[in-house]
């Protein structure tokens, strides 16, 4: 039963509430404008304009099928052969969603870690080193050093430092996901995109991964899709709520979880649907 009080509260709620981070003094490293994504005729994303703050963790939450992955994969043009992406993706003042952009170079700046850990069928060392070697880093000493720092940053070094020549496919799920993070940061990106990186991991590995991401925030801007509300609350500075192809609410994480402005967001974060 709705009381009159509830009805008034509900009407006070907005339909959308998207904060402009540039207006609140954040340094913006990446932003989208007029972003639309089509899978064939099906428009999977049509209101996805967001600004991302430098060296902050932004969480993308929302029910499954709401377009989070679609949005994230558009940011580093991973949707290139799969979907049509229109609109602007401004990275440090340059629209990277235009044909003239060197997409390979761009993906090195905007790295990605996937839902299922996907280490290559190579040694742990080569998983990290081979992309660098392809880009002309051949000095063994330098490679060793990058492999070591990347593994340390991904909090995997201590566990694998004696097994660098062993196959990466023998690693546990949590370790494999860390290796994927190490691999991504070895090419020295600015931004790390993570699509539900912990969903295939056990609770212990998940919490270790969260700690790692908090450490990585010093050096990288992190955008993470998660279906785990506690995870978003624990690690992110800002949170965007997606629903049915639209960003309905974007604000500081504490605001989203304690005082959401949009009814659906409120329902979602309180676990009433999704």
């Amino acid at each position: 039963m709705l009381t009159s009080n509830d009805v008034r509260n509900e009407s006070a709620m907005q339909e959308r509430h998207v904060t402009q981070l540039s207006a609140v003094g954040e340094e913006i490293i990446l932003s989208t404008r007029n972003l639309h994504v089509f899978y064939g005729q099906h428009e999977a994303l049509f209101e996805g304009d967001l600004e991302f703050a430098n060296h902050k963790i932004t969480a993308l939450i929302g029910p499954s099928g709401s377009g989070k992955s679609t949005f994230l994969r558009s940011l580093n043009r991973m949707n290139d052969r799969i979907a049509t992406v229109t609109g602007e993706i401004m990275y440090r003042g340059v629209d990277v969603n235009q044909p003239a952009i060197d997409v390979y170079e761009m993906r090195r700046r905007v790295g990605m870690v996937f839902q299922r850990p996907n280490p290559f069928a190579k040694s742990i060392y080569d998983n990290i080193a081979f992309a660098l070697q392809l880009r002309g880093v051949t000095d063994r000493h330098q490679l060793d050093e990058i492999v070591e720092t990347s593994l340390k940053q991904a909090a995997l070094w201590e566990q694998v430092k004696d097994d660098l020549n062993k196959s990466a496919l023998a690693l546990s799920g949590g370790q494999a996901q860390r290796l994927c993070i190490a691999r991504a940061i070895a090419v020295k990106p600015d931004i790390l995109l993570l699509d539900e990186p912990a969903s295939a991991l056990d609770p212990v590995s998940t919490s270790q991964l969260e700690d790692t991401l908090l450490d990585l925030k010093q050096k990288y801007t992190i955008i993470i899709v998660t279906h785990n509300m506690q995870q978003a609350a624990r690690i992110s500075d800002y949170t965007a709520f997606f629903n049915a192809g639209r960003v309905l609410e974007y604000d500081t994480t504490s605001q989203i979880f304690t005082n959401p402005q949009v009814k659906i967001t409120s329902d979602y974060v309180s676990g009433n649907f999704g």
Partner: protein, 294 residues
């Protein structure tokens, strides 16, 4: 009748059918090996064949079979690899790729005798290559290409899409992703496919009768200059293979020990193909282990 009994009957029937197939295979292998093994000797495996007298061997035919196999693989593997990579990694689904796939399907179901007659008309007659190793190798390429392409494509398919995404997300081009990530991971399975198809090519007769020819001139195994006519490496000489030899002895062999030679040759052929098959399994497994284990 309840579903439990039904299940039992179905399982029983399936076991029966499977057992029957295995039995046929064992009987065939047993017959060939039992009647052929006693003929095998170092002399038999190395001596040249004799047309009218007792005591000939299959040395030249054996060499021809391996040499043809080698050449056929040398030609067909790069083409099949390229075609498979194009079809699976690059091509979009459109009329062109549908046409190519259909062509491959049809080509792979073509009877090998048709491939052989085509090879005769085209390579032997039209291109004037004569009955030669080269004509045979080209015919075998036609025979082998569709199956090998399909098997390599299947190998590529077994590599998860997440591997490709992983490569692309690191800023690798599609080509770099295919050559540095996908192919290395697919090597065990590609190799298995290559060896299995080698077994098929090794035993092929119909495609070779009118291309590589039915005669095996004596070879001088001291002469490795491919331009000399008696050199084993000369690709322009006619070259009867082991499988063709078996066919020929059985249809028109006039040596007194034709039956024994035919049995011996069959045993060699079957053994070689068995070795190919076991090698494929063994190598594939080992390579896969090396890739995946600590």
């Amino acid at each position: 009748m309840n579903s439990k009994t039904q299940n039992k009957i179905a399982i029983g029937a399936l076991y029966g059918i499977a057992g029957f197939v295995v039995l046929i295979l064992l009987a065939l292998l047993g017959y060939i090996l039992v009647s052929g093994m006693p003929q095998l000797s170092w002399h038999f495996l190395t001596a040249p064949a004799k047309a009218f007298l007792k005591g000939g061997g299959v040395g030249v035919q054996l060499f021809n079979s391996f040499y043809l196999l080698f050449l056929a693989m040398l030609i067909s593997f790069p083409i099949a690899l390229g075609a498979a990579i194009y079809l699976y990694e690059y091509a979009k689904d459109n009329w062109l790729t549908t046409t190519i796939r259909t062509a491959i399907e049809i080509l792979s179901s073509l009877p090998s005798v048709v491939v052989g007659l085509f090879g005769f008309l085209f390579f032997v007659v039209k291109l004037r290559l004569g009955f030669s190793i080269l004509s045979g190798a080209f015919a075998l390429t036609f025979f082998n290409l569709p199956l090998l392409t399909r098997s390599i494509e299947d190998s590529l398919r077994t590599i998860s899409e997440t591997q490709r995404e992983g490569g692309l997300a690191l800023g690798l081009s599609r080509w770099e992703t295919v050559t540095k990530v996908i192919l290395p991971a697919a090597v065990p399975s590609i190799l298995t496919g290559v060896i299995l198809s080698a077994g098929r090519v090794f035993g092929e007769a119909a495609a070779l009768i009118y291309t590589a020819g039915q005669s095996a001139p004596a070879l001088n195994f001291m002469d490795w200059n491919p331009f000399n006519i008696s050199s084993p490496l000369n690709p322009m000489r006619p070259a009867e293979t082991l499988a063709v030899h078996i066919w020929k002895i059985n249809s028109e062999g006039i040596m007194p020990d034709a039956k024994a030679i035919s049995s011996g040759s069959s045993a060699v052929l079957v053994l070689a193909i068995l070795i190919f098959n076991f090698a494929a399994r063994y190598l594939g497994k080992r390579l896969y282990k090396r890739l995946t284990s600590a």
